[in-house]
């Protein structure tokens, strides 16, 4: 253990510029890491106690709990980083069921050799994101795995939220004639990540759309408490979410391609690589099924917030069906079926 103590140095600071196995050993270095980086950033009256479990009281209403693990290469990307994503992703999962996010937990798995500066940057982003989303991180855990056994950093966040009395979102409430709203341009996140991955020397200015959606959801539910259901089209994209909703509700959904907000750069990258933007991931978008009477009103209210500025009605529920499906009216006025994807999309050569 001597070399490590040497590295700690006189200032008792974090010594090494990289994460060491000892940072996860539960000893002195673990405590330093927690106190000097994590607590510094996340500080709140519950977390500061560093008890084995956080003890909190919740406001009245139904409790919503969700958990999500974040693994992404590279950890910093145009428009965001894994830390911010880990907060917003979980906040958005809560928001999709109509819950107001209250508390989060943070589970960190670090790979030996991770740059301390990078780690700091990620933790600070988590803190800022939590502040923006109005949640407190009340408990957490940090482990270090040997080099080669992780991918720099994995983050798990569990979120707790409160669903106000009388609010219930469910695919079973979907009615024929309901409209489908998409809150903004699709595929930005997936394309931003793809473009900055090793091996693809394509330059694009597309940035991840990583954003919290809880505020947008509140505005939407204020305009129309009878919104049927909401989903955030993360992995699998809008196409997957629409297919899931069609299955759950036993309906056919029609989407008009020309109404779907899409950046020209995202369309261009997809054309080039043979990908379909309907299946590309988003991190700050939602799909909502809403009563047709209030669809316009909801969209207008959404467009007043930055995270909903491009919101559009992209389609409708056309029929009940024993074989649910989603079909798309193309830009040349034909239809095609938007299928449930089989796995990850792979670039085509043919």
């Amino acid at each position: 253990m001597l070399p490590i103590i040497d590295m700690i140095g006189e200032r008792g600071l974090l010594m090494s510029e990289k994460i060491l196995l000892a940072h996860g050993s539960g000893g002195l270095l673990t405590r330093k890491l927690i106190e000097e980086i994590i607590l510094q950033a996340f500080a709140n009256s519950v977390l500061n106690k560093l008890t084995d479990a956080a003890a909190v009281s919740l406001p009245p209403g139904k409790v919503a709990v969700t958990t999500d693990s974040f693994v992404i290469t590279p950890p910093i990307f145009p428009g965001g980083n894994i830390g911010e994503l880990a907060i917003y992703g979980t906040v958005n999962d809560l928001a999709m069921v109509g819950a107001r996010p209250v508390y989060l937990t943070s589970g960190l798995i670090l790979e030996e050799g991770l740059e301390i500066n990078l780690f700091k940057e990620i933790i600070e982003s988590m803190a800022i994101a939590a502040k923006i989303a109005g949640v407190e991180i009340i408990t957490g855990d940090t482990k270090v795995v040997e080099k080669g056994k992780g991918d720099q950093i994995f983050i798990n966040t569990t979120g707790v939220g409160i669903i106000p009395e009388g609010r219930e979102l469910s695919a079973s409430k979907i009615q024929i004639g309901d409209k489908v709203i998409l809150s903004g341009t699709m595929g930005d996140h997936g394309i931003a990540i793809l473009a900055c991955r090793k091996g693809l020397s394509l330059k694009t200015d597309v940035r991840s759309d990583s954003t919290p959606l809880h505020r947008l959801v509140e505005v939407m539910l204020e305009v129309e408490p009878q919104i049927r259901v909401m989903r955030d089209p993360t992995r699998g994209g809008v196409g997957t979410v629409l297919n899931e909703l069609a299955e759950e509700a036993g309906v056919e959904i029609k989407i008009e391609v020309e109404q779907v907000p899409l950046l020209a750069q995202v369309q261009g990258m997809c054309d080039l690589l043979g990908l379909d933007p309907f299946y590309i991931a988003n991190e700050g978008k939602l799909v909502a099924i809403v009563p047709k009477e209030s669809a316009d009103k909801i969209t207008i209210a959404m467009s007043k917030l930055p995270e909903g500025k491009d919101a559009a009605i992209i389609g409708e529920i056309v029929a009940r069906s024993i074989y649910p499906q989603v079909y798309v009216e193309t830009e040349i006025k034909t239809t095609r079926i938007l299928e449930m994807p089989m796995g990850n999309q792979l670039p085509r050569i043919c």
Partner: protein, 381 residues
């Protein structure tokens, strides 16, 4: 102005579609056209082009998806290679899912095999330079369009003195396959000919279709207007009684092709017989590297020591899987049978474990039939 959008103009497309409806009325039989290229198949599905066509005009999908016609043996060879600790494979993404007898490259990667997806064969050079102690094998599949890219990669490897890069070659040529498809009992009235392949080879290799087989063909691009236009031009030929090879993709394809690329192909490669999934062996439809580039070919005699264990593995698989495969892909592609006539269809041949090219591609004839028929099955219950 958005250049792409004028090729997706619904008004123009509708006008041409109306003309096609008009022309089809002059024919006293149903018309079957084959699109040869996988990207055409994709566009036809993506833009719902069949919606615009008369009922008695059918589009059938040809063998033009390079990964779909890659034989199981090739995929198995690749998998065995990926399992070798000293080997890194580089491949186009869509080959990852294509199944062999040993599974797919996706599964192999999950089991710890080193497989890297590249967007261009040239990217293999960097992988080779960064992993000097490993053997890098690029899975060289694809038609005339991708062959020049493989050549550029080898040329550059030679220039930089990279010795640890080889190719597992399965490059294929389109015209010999068309010759096989038009051999007998052939029920295709016209060909929508591939845009990208034609940009390399030009129109001459297709002339035999018109001159010997009496079948018209039109080279076209991949936007919906391109495709509808080519169908219109074929119908016009049929109604007027002309039989020609036309080029409607002048913005990309020169009638004589890309002379420089053709020269490169002839300098580096020589034609050999090649195995196509579902179609069997086709004479002179493949390519072999010739001297002095032969040593880039992993399976050439010059590399025999490297691939000894691989060869043994392949022989073992062939022995283990000696039972007859019942796929009738070739007959389906040529319109002589439909997927439901195939004994393997929806039994041993499924989208997740396909036997033939028509099921490998989600847009292939069998894959489309599978989805449609299953639906119909549910509806009838």
């Amino acid at each position: 102005m958005n250049v792409v959008n004028q090729y997706r103009d619904p008004v123009l497309i509708k006008k041409l579609a109306d003309k096609i409806h008009h022309l089809v009325r002059f024919m006293d039989r149903p018309i079957r056209l084959m699109e040869v290229c996988g990207t055409h198949t994709h566009s036809i599905f993506h833009f719902g082009i069949r919606d615009l066509l008369p009922k008695n005009l059918e589009l059938v999908s040809g063998p033009g998806c390079p990964v779909c016609v890659t034989p199981t043996n090739y995929v198995d060879q690749a998998i065995l290679l990926a399992r070798e600790p000293g080997v890194i494979l580089t491949t186009f993404g869509d080959l990852m899912r294509v199944p062999g007898r040993l599974g797919s490259l996706l599964q192999t990667k999950a089991e710890g095999g080193r497989v890297e997806i590249v967007y261009s064969p040239v990217d293999s050079l960097q992988v080779a330079e960064e992993n000097c102690s490993k053997l890098i094998v690029f899975l060289a599949v694809g038609f005339e369009t991708t062959i020049p890219l493989s050549i550029i990669t080898l040329k550059e490897a030679q220039r930089r003195g990279i010795n640890n890069l080889k190719i597992l070659n399965a490059h294929k040529l389109i015209p010999p396959a068309l010759r096989v498809l038009t051999a007998e009992n052939f029920k295709i009235d016209g060909f929508i000919l591939p845009g990208h392949v034609s940009a390399i080879i030009g129109l001459n290799p297709y002339r035999f279709l018109a001159e010997e087989k009496g079948i018209p063909g039109v080279v076209t691009g991949f936007e919906p207007l391109d495709i509808i236009h080519s169908i219109y031009r074929i119908m016009l030929q049929l109604v007027e009684g002309r039989i020609e090879i036309e080029n409607t993709y002048h913005r990309v394809v020169k009638d004589e092709g890309n002379i420089h690329a053709l020269e490169l192909i002839h300098r580096y490669f020589t034609p050999v017989n090649s195995e196509w999934r579902g179609l069997g062996e086709i004479a002179d439809s493949g390519l072999k590297l010739q001297e002095p580039w032969e040593n880039f070919d992993l399976l050439s005699n010059k590399n025999s020591s490297t691939v000894q264990s691989l060869k043994h593995g392949i022989q073992q698989i062939l022995v283990d899987s000696s039972e007859e495969e019942s796929c009738i892909c070739g007959l389906i592609l040529t319109g002589q049978r439909t997927p439901v006539d195939c004994p393997a269809f929806a039994r041993s041949c499924l989208p997740e474990s396909p036997l033939g090219a028509c099921m490998v591609s989600s847009e292939g004839t069998c894959a489309a039939y599978y989805r449609y028929d299953r639906r119909k099955g549910i509806a009838n219950v």
